[in-house]
């Protein structure tokens, strides 16, 4: 399946892009590994996940076309 991943805050700086398409993804676990391979520095940061504009604290079951956002701690205000 193909997943579009958005990088917010400092993660976007590290990735040097706001989003990236990942193809042939088999699971969220697989996606995590692919992202870590691309951006090893991410392991130094905490972030939450949103899938299709819903924040989740679980490892989500992904389907083709899902949009996943990686969100470091919020700092608005």
């Amino acid at each position: 399946m193909e997943i579009k991943v958005f990088f917010f805050g400092i993660l976007g700086d590290i990735a040097k892009t706001g989003f990236k398409h990942y193809r042939n993804i088999t699971s969220f676990h697989d996606l995590e590994h692919r992202i870590e391979d691309d951006y090893p520095e991410f392991v130094h940061y905490t972030y939450r996940i949103a899938v299709n504009n819903e924040i989740t604290d679980e490892k989500p079951d992904l389907k083709d076309g899902d949009q996943v956002a990686l969100m470091p701690p919020f700092s608005g205000g």
Partner: protein
């Protein structure tokens, strides 16, 4: 209610005043509490903050703001109307980056609910800020708990 939360650049006085217009339709609301947040010219490790650049996950900001507004209205049943404005993009030191306006039947709930809204916006809305210093270096702020 929450579709106009994000404002490009600083939140202007005009935006805040226009935001107050909608409150006329609640004659039973006797108290309006307003919080205005500005970018401070802090000194961080000897560097002066020149501006903050805010970025946001817009679709999720709208969704999470609705949840915040609902929970605050549940906690403070006298609340009649809530409006929040928050900057995205560059806001210079001294400029306004956030405003919250809350109307309630009595002032006590208006002030308490306004305080709660501000606290929740800081920890619940997917917004990030980057401090830009006068030497043009920058640092991402990580001060709120998500």
């Amino acid at each position: 209610m929450s579709e106009n939360i994000l404002i490009e650049g600083p939140v202007s006085q005009a935006v805040i005043l226009n935001g107050l217009d909608g409150f006329n339709q609640y004659p039973d609301a006797g108290g309006i509490s307003i919080f205005i947040g500005k970018v401070r010219n802090d000194v961080v490790s000897g560097k002066y903050v020149q501006a903050i650049e805010y970025s946001a996950y817009e679709a999720l900001v709208i969704k999470e703001a609705e949840k915040i507004f609902s929970s605050v209205k549940e906690e403070f049943p006298e609340v009649k109307l809530i409006k929040v404005f928050h900057s995205v993009g560059i806001v210079n030191a001294g400029e306004i980056s956030m405003a919250a306006i809350v109307a309630a039947i009595h002032r006590d709930q208006a002030m308490q609910a306004c305080k709660k809204i501000v606290e929740l916006v800081k920890v619940k809305l997917p917004i990030w800020k980057k401090e830009i210093y006068t030497d043009l270096t920058y640092m991402w702020k990580r001060d709120n708990l998500a």
